[in-house]
Structures are given as structure tokens and as C-alpha cells.
Amino acid sequence: MAQKKGVRVSEDADELSHVPLQAVLLADSFAQKFRPITMERPKVLLPLVNIPMIDYSLAWLESAGVEEVFVFCCAHSKQIIDYLDKSEWLSYPKFSVNTIESHDSVSAGDALRLVYERNVIHGDFVLISGDTVSNMSLTQALQDHKDRKKKDSNAIMTMVIKKSKPSSLTHQTRLGNDELVMAIDPNTKELLYYEDKVDSADGVVTLDKGFLLDNPALKVHNDKEDCYIDICSPEVLSLFTDNFDYQHLRRHFVKGLLVDDIMGYKIFTHEIHSSYAARVDNFRSYDTISKDIIQRWTYPLVPDIQFSGNLPIKLERQGVYKGSDLQLSRSAQLGPFTLVGSGTSIGDSCKISNSVIGEGCSIGSNVSIEGSYIWDHVTIQDGCQLNHALVCDGVVIKSGAVLEPGVVLSYKVVVGPQFPVPAYAKVSLLPQPTNEDSDDELEYADSGSGILDITSLNSTLEVPNAELSRSSDSAEVGVSEVGYIWSVCEGGHEEEWRHSVAPVPANKIAELRKDPVEPDTPKLEVLPAAGTRPDDETSDSDNDPATDDPCDFDKEVEATFLRAVHEGVDQDHVIIEVNSLRLSYNMASLDCAGAIFWSVMKLALETPHDTKGELLNNAVSVITTWRDLLRHYLQSIDEEIEIIMKFEEMCLESAKDFAPMFATVCNIKS
């Protein structure tokens, strides 16, 4: 009885001892999707409906009851730290914001390893990136996570997901990501399969048959969205440290855990229904989430509620948000779902709809702005047309300029009068870095290093300053018309429409419609071979030779053999080499025999010959020369049969010449 009591007390004490809920906020996306803007400012400080993204994340964490946040800054870390110092986040009671600075982290994996080294996380923590917008309540998810953890200590992570249908046309989600396919156990909510790079061309998803053997039930979803909000146990950090090659949270960590079954660790999912959660990953999701915010899906994180030190904004009819001190011309038309920041002036007969305009902008008359995002202190002169463009701080657009859909103007770019900026162009004061290393996913660590490149690139790759202005003879050239048009990067122009702020152009939709209608849900295909891993499931198959084609092995063996023939290598050495090849390709000795015989016969065939008799002689002599080598591998009758089969195959396919002497050659061997 007394013992029981003691246990009870300790349990209570365990529950009572208050562990502050911690969160790790990665203030670096380790991606380049927001370039060229992110070369000058970190992504988390970019304004989303006039409020820096990190404020949404912090406000959400604060209201969700998180008490300690570690902001991990890497690219432009100084700017982030300065921003946080000035903001009111540091002054809140019961909410502490600490920064962890790093200069050499290139991935989320590096970041988490550093967090682990600092030894600041003591319990379960929430892992998000600084571009997450959400209003979900964490209570239920945390409770579920803790309960599961109590039952099964291997349940180390809970992933928040949300229902959202991908477009059947483009096979991408609203947020511009590729279609995501997950397999979830409907009872336990365990995540069994995760694939975010579904090959949309054929719409086929391949699952291992083992899944069906191991799990009584399995639901495959393609209508779930990954919110990139994870509730993790401290083991996650140590896992990252143990597996030092983990870089990407999803691509390496989640898939690694699911595929390799490390220590039996499990990942679970938590689905949210009424609340909102999404992550700004690319320009498309920037556009989508901005619109969601204006449509108030993120309530109470909406512009007219001052959730972070933002200026007061009033919501009027039809979703028009207006800041204070506006100078609005009487004839200007503010269309629905538009936000105009404080201190902005808008001239006569402007038409603005579905757009966000920052603070302190001055917009001339007869300007039409549709679906665009204009940040602070932008000057737009008379008669400009902006269509689904993104315009950063301090940009000057001179009169009559036209921005086609999908244009991104980075900081302080000046667009000359009457200049049409082509669709999907990205214009920046900084030139595009030439040696773009695709592996190097770092955002520019310092704006300083970017500037250094200017001279070297000026003449070669970039469009020179003057080309931005048509009136190249005017005095202003070089003084005001500044900026480089970045050449379209990796994906090519074809892919630009996927991720831009502009809606998918009509011709693309028509093109996609014309395609033979595929089933919306990806087909399921269960591989018969449960033992071997399906190829498309391994993300890192490039350095895994086990899955390589067996004919590579034959070629290697042949090369070895030929080297032996031409360079007179000793037979023993050949055997050793072939054996090592066999091990590295994971082949049976049977295959070796086959491969060697094949090379032998090929040698015979390639030796110059005129008649069939000569060929036969050649073959006989070669075989007798290398008889010992062959015999080394011909230990049993099975191998001899293999050899004969191989020979038969050769006769049928490659070397028709051998066909008549099949019997003769067979005799020689035995």
C-alpha cells in the first residue's frame, strides 16, 4: 500500500513538475526559392500582408502556449537578431525568444545538429520554420503525442497534416508544391509512407508489398497537405546527430525513418480540421497564403487585429483593409480583397484589386494593379500596369511601365518609363551568381559577398543596366534605371509558372486539359518482390550499387578479363579482381562464371577470323588458355548449366556465327 502510494506521488510529481514547452524555429529555409529577394533580406523577414512572416510564426507559438522559442538564424542572421531585438517579442511575459546563430549551416539537418550541441532542448518541442502561418491549437496534438510516447517510446514525432485537395490539372497543391502522397494507418495514425515528389506524369505510386503484410489497414491519401509543423521528442535531435548525412527534414529524415526503419522509431500524424496551417515555401504559396489571410482563414492572425506591433488597419466592406493616414483619390477604385498600408497615397482613377500595398507607397494616377504584392515605400508613377507582380521595398516604377504576370522586382530596382518587364522576370540590383552550385542550398550568407561578384559578372551573364531602359539616350541611364534581369534558373521557363505569384496562364491550363485525362488519384501498384526495394522509393539511389543494372557487372568483368589478356596479368590476380567485383556488386559466383565465359567467348569472336573453322579454332584456343580460370568458377553442375545457358543465349542473340558450332564448343568445354 505504502509502495503504491509512493508511486502515485512520484507520478503526480512528474505531471506537476512544469516542463516549459519549447519550440525550435528555423529562421532559414535553406532553399533559394525566394531569390533574388533573399539575397538581401532573410526570408522570414519578408512581409506577408505587410507583417514579417516570423511574426506570424511567433504570434502563433505564443498563443499556442509555447514558452521558450529558439530562433535558429543562419543566412542574414544579423538582420534577424536586430529585428527581434527591436520587436516586442522579447518583452512578453512567459514567452522567451532566444536566438541561435550559425554561419556554416547549409541545411535543416545542420541546424538541428547545432541545436543538439547547444543542449537547450529538454523535452518535447515544436519544430517549425519561420515562415509558418497557423492558428491551430497545439493542446490536442501535444496531448496525443505525449500519450503515444508513454505507450510506445518509439513514437518520436507527430506531424501535423491538413486536408487539402491538389489540383487535378497541374498535380500540384494550392501552395505550389508537388502532389504529396502519404500512407497512414487509419487506426493508429502512424505515418507509413511519404512521397512528396510524386511523378505526376504517369500518376503511379509504388508501395512495397511488405506494407500490406505488416499493417492490417492502410489508407493512401493524396488530399493531405503537410503543414510542416512537427512535434518532436528530443530523440529527433540525437537522430540527426547520429545520421550526419541527414539534411532535409522530409526528404532525408522522414523518409529515412520510414524506409530504413531506424531503431523502430515511428512517426505519427495529427490532422487538423477547422484551424489553418500552411507554410510559405515559394511565390505561389506566398500568393495563396496572403489571400487566405485576407480572407481571414487565419483569424485571429489577420491584419485588422494587432497581433504583433503592426499599425492599426481597418477592415471595410468587401474585404478592403485600409491603414491610417491614407491619401486616396476620390476617383480611385479599391477593389475587393485589397489591403493598403498606412501613409500610402493613391492617385486619380487608379484601379486596384486583390492586391496588397505596403506602407508609405506613392502611386500615381491611372495605375492599374491587379493581384500584386507591393511592399513598403514603393513609387509607382502614372499609367503603370502591374499584373500579378511582386514589388519589394524602395522600387521605383516610372510612368507607363508594364509588369507582366509573375514579375519579381527586388529591392530598390528602378524600372524605366514605358519599359515592359517580361513575364516571370526577376530583377535585382545584385547580379545572379554564375557558379550556381545546385547542392549548395545556402541563401547568401552575407549581402557583402554578393556585392563582390558584381564586377566579375557585369559583362558576361547579366543584362547590363542600360538594357532595362529603352530610352538609352536619356541622361538618366545608369543613374536611375538599375537592376539586372536574372536569367531563368534551373527549372527553365517551362516551370516558372508553377511557382510564381501569377495564376497559371490560360494556355497552360488548356494544354493540361488536352492531355489524356488521368485518374485523379494515383494508381496503386504493389510490387511482388517484397524483399527488394522498389527503385523509386529510395531517394538516394545514386550511390547505392545494389540496385544497379547487372549488365554493369558483366562489363566490369569483361574489362578485367581483357586487361588480363592484353597485359598478361596472372590468372590468380584475375580471380581476386573478379571476386572483389562480385562482392561489390553483390552477385553470386554463378553470375561470375557466366560473365567470365561471356568475355571469353567474346574475345574469341573478336579475334580476327575468316572461316567458321578458324573461329572454332579461336574459341578452342581461348577456352583452353583460360580453362583454369573458368574451372575456378565451375565448381558444381549448376554453374556448368549456367555456362551452357549463357552460351546458348549468346548464340541466339549476339554472335550468330557461333550458332553452327554450338555442339562442338560444348564438347570442348567439358
Partner: protein, 416 residues
């Protein structure tokens, strides 16, 4: 005062995050916060009331701007300001009265405070003059012996007899603070007991075998109905569910648990049912100075239906919901547009909101929280002080608020 500052910012944060819901809870917490602000406020010897008012206004501004939609915050701030003014006035008049009249009139200080509206014009003028010229007041106080101050602080009354004039002054400042805090406690009590006060009047309004209609859930309405039930009245209640939050379901549960005959109907069935209804009883979010009501969404429809069928439309609300502002005031934000997720499930409709594909017109959802019911549709207000006509609201408001405080919010607009 780091203490109060922390308290204030914590409450501001709660308001901003919309974590305090309902005018009752908000009113209560605002009053409690202001009480602690006042009790921790250091007051100089001169011009104490002005200092207190300033301190409350500073906090009040922050609170009001944190959630301008929740009018109860502003109401309580204004009432506290009013309380300070009243207490100061009554103290001053006591002093003046003590000076002008003989010392024996001091005893009935309490009676005088209650009769403050009956003060003669001369006394008020003298009081205002004395507050304007603070040193004069002091000379006045110095002149009066302790007899004037003593009755106000009964505990220290005996001791202050032999003390110097500084102790006298601090006694008076403590006195003001003390009185104000006492009055705020009374206000808090009023807020707490308003449900019972209102419910007491239930039997006068609900008669045997009547059919009552209500929409959504209001605690005041619930107590009101239950009080009538307890008094052995037998009647039926129709509860309109109150989409999109469906608080009506909760109310129906509570009513059935208390043994009332309850029927749940859809909001859209209100007009069909109204002809069978004897009285509509609803709660309110706020009552404006003109007698208009800011009420949960859907009530304007109910009020119009009731008007069409000449059914009395009764609004029950505690006095903390009385707002001295008019609905046409620019600083009154009449509505709160909440998340569309209350209306429909995001996942089901996500394909209608794909801005990348949508041909220019993705799905829009509007979810307003409140309706404005104009005064002409309201038959009767029942507050904790009794039943009132909509046209009488301005008079009630004059009792609770002083005209100087109506503009707390305008300062906010200028300040920011």
C-alpha cells in the same frame, strides 16, 4: 510599476489573441485589472483625481485598442473613470461643505455621495474651482481641523488627530484611492450579480403557457428562463441554433438539464415559427446609446420577424453592456469578421480556393459575428436596474458615465 505593467500587457495580449471571450468575462477582468492599477498607482499630493484618471486612461487606451470590437472593455474603463470623478467630486464637496457649513454635517457623507446629482450648482462650482486650484484646496484642508477628514477614514480617524498636515494630505489621497477601490468592488459585484438581478424580474415577464423564442446562447437568457421555471411557471422555449457557432445547441442542452420544455429549430425556421411565439428573449453583445443593439449574428432577422408578427422583442443585458457611444461613431467597430472555417471545412473547399487555377473568382466566405438591431425593433430592455424602453437608454447612460470620458478612444487614434 513593473507589476501592473506586466499585468496590463498580459491582459492586452489576451485581448489581442481573442482569448477572452464574452462581454461578462471581459468586463470582469477589465475591472479587476483597473482596480489593481489604481491600487498600485502612486499618487502625488496635488491633483490626485487627475492623476488617477490619467493612469486609468493610459491603460484604458491600450485595452480598448487591443480589441476594439469588445465594447465592454471601453464601457468598464469609462465607468471606472466616472467613479474616480464622482469620488473626487464627493470628497471635494465634503470639504467645501465642511468649510461652508458647520462641522456636524460631515457625518452623513455617504448620504451625500448618493445624492451627488442633487448638489447645488454653487457647491459644484466651488468644488470644480477648488480642484482647479489645488493649492487653494490645500489651504482649505489645512484650515479645517481633522474633523473634516476623520469621518472618511474611520480606522485612521483617531490617530490622525494629532498628526501633521502631511499625514493629513496622504490620508486624503488614501481616502480617494480607498473610495475608488471600494466603488470598483461594488462595480465588480454588480457585474457578478447582474444575472441574478435580471433573472429576478423573470416572473413579471414570462407567463404561464407562453412560448419563448431565443437565438444562440446567452448566459443571461439562460438564467432568466431558469428563474421563471423555478418560480413554477410552465412555458416552452424554442431555441434557434445560432449558426455558424451553434451555441443554441449548448443552450438547449442546459435548458433540458434544468427541466424546461425545449425545442431546437434552425435559424432559417424562425420566421415560420414566430407566429406561435409569445415573446422573443435574447441576449446582446452591447447596447448602444441610441437603444440599438449589437447582437450575435442572425438577431436582426429575428427582430424583423418579431416586428412583422407583433411579438415583443426583449433584450436582456447587464449594465456593463451599456455603451455610451452611438453606432454611427467612427470609432465603433460594429463587427468582427471571424474565420470562415466556422462556416465550412477548409479541406472540402480547398479546390475552390486554388488561386493559381481559379479563373479570377475563387470562393469568398464572410463570417460576421454581430448584427445591428435598430432601436425601433426592440420592445424592451431588461437590465439589472429593471425594464427600460429603448428611448430611455441615453438616460441610463448618463447615470453610469460622465460625458468627459466618451472620447477615450479618440486619443488612441491620435496617439498612434
Amino acid at each position: 510599476m513593473p507589476d501592473t505593467q506586466a499585468l496590463v500587457s498580459e491582459f492586452v495580449l489576451k485581448l489581442k489573441r481573442r482569448k477572452v471571450e464574452g462581454s461578462h468575462a471581459t468586463a470582469r477582468q477589465t475591472a479587476e485589472l483597473l482596480r489593481s492599477v489604481i491600487s498600485q498607482q502612486r499618487i502625488p499630493h496635488t491633483n490626485q483625481a487627475a492623476h488617477l484618471i490619467e493612469a486609468v486612461k493610459v491603460v484604458g487606451e491600450q485595452l480598448i485598442s487591443a480589441n476594439p470590437v469588445e465594447l465592454a472593455v471601453g464601457n468598464i474603463v469609462r465607468r471606472v473613470l466616472h467613479i474616480i470623478r464622482e469620488e473626487d467630486l464627493s470628497l471635494a464637496t465634503t470639504a467645501v461643505g465642511a468649510l461652508g457649513l458647520s462641522a456636524d454635517s460631515d457625518d452623513d457623507d455617504d448620504a451625500e455621495r448618493d445624492d451627488r446629482t442633487l448638489l447645488s450648482a454653487t457647491a459644484v462650482a466651488a468644488a470644480s474651482r477648488s480642484t482647479l486650484r489645488a493649492p487653494a484646496l490645500h489651504t482649505l484642508l489645512e484650515d479645517i481641523p481633522d474633523s473634516a477628514a476623520a469621518p472618511h477614514t474611520p480606522s485612521s480617524g483617531g490617530e490622525s488627530e494629532g498628526k501633521s498636515k502631511s499625514a493629513d494630505k496622504s490620508g486624503r489621497s488614501r481616502k480617494l484611492k480607498h473610495d475608488v477601490i471600494e466603488a470598483i468592488n461594488e462595480l465588480l459585484e454588480d457585474i457578478d450579480t447582474c444575472h441574478e438581478q435580471i433573472a429576478e424580474q423573470a416572473v413579471e415577464h414570462i407567463h404561464q403557457n407562453e412560448v419563448i423564442l431565443t437565438l444562440g446562447r446567452s448566459r443571461t437568457v439562460m438564467e432568466f428562463l431558469c428563474a421563471a421555471k423555478e418560480k413554477k411557471r410552465s412555458f416552452r422555449v424554442f431555441v434557434a441554433e445560432g449558426a455558424p457557432r451553434y451555441q443554441g445547441h449548448v443552450l438547449a442542452k442546459e435548458l433540458v438539464a434544468r427541466g424546461l420544455q425545449t425545442t431546437v429549430i434552425a435559424d432559417s425556421a424562425v420566421f415560420a415559427m414566430i407566429s406561435r411565439v409569445n415573446m422573443v428573449i435574447v441576449g446582446a453583445h452591447a447596447i448602444m446609446a441610441n437603444g440599438g443593439v449589437i447582437a450575435p449574428v442572425g438577431l436582426n432577422m429575428v427582430a424583423l420577424a418579431a416586428k412583422r408578427h407583433a411579438v415583443p422583442f426583449v433584450v436582456v443585458a447587464g449594465s456593463h453592456k451599456l455603451c455610451p457611444l452611438y453606432p454611427h461613431n467612427p470609432e465603433v467597430l460594429l463587427n468582427d469578421l471571424r474565420s470562415p472555417s466556422e462556416l465550412l471545412d477548409f479541406g472540402e473547399f480547398s479546390d475552390c480556393m486554388d488561386y493559381g487555377i481559379g479563373s479570377g473568382a475563387p470562393l469568398h466566405v464572410v463570417n460576421p459575428a454581430f448584427d445591428y438591431v435598430p432601436p425601433k425593433l426592440v420592445s424592451l430592455f431588461i437590465t439589472d436596474t429593471g425594464g427600460h424602453n429603448p428611448s430611455y437608454m441615453y438616460r441610463l447612460i448618463a447615470d453610469y458615465y460622465s460625458a468627459d470620458d466618451f472620447v477615450v478612444q479618440r486619443r488612441t487614434a491620435l496617439g498612434s
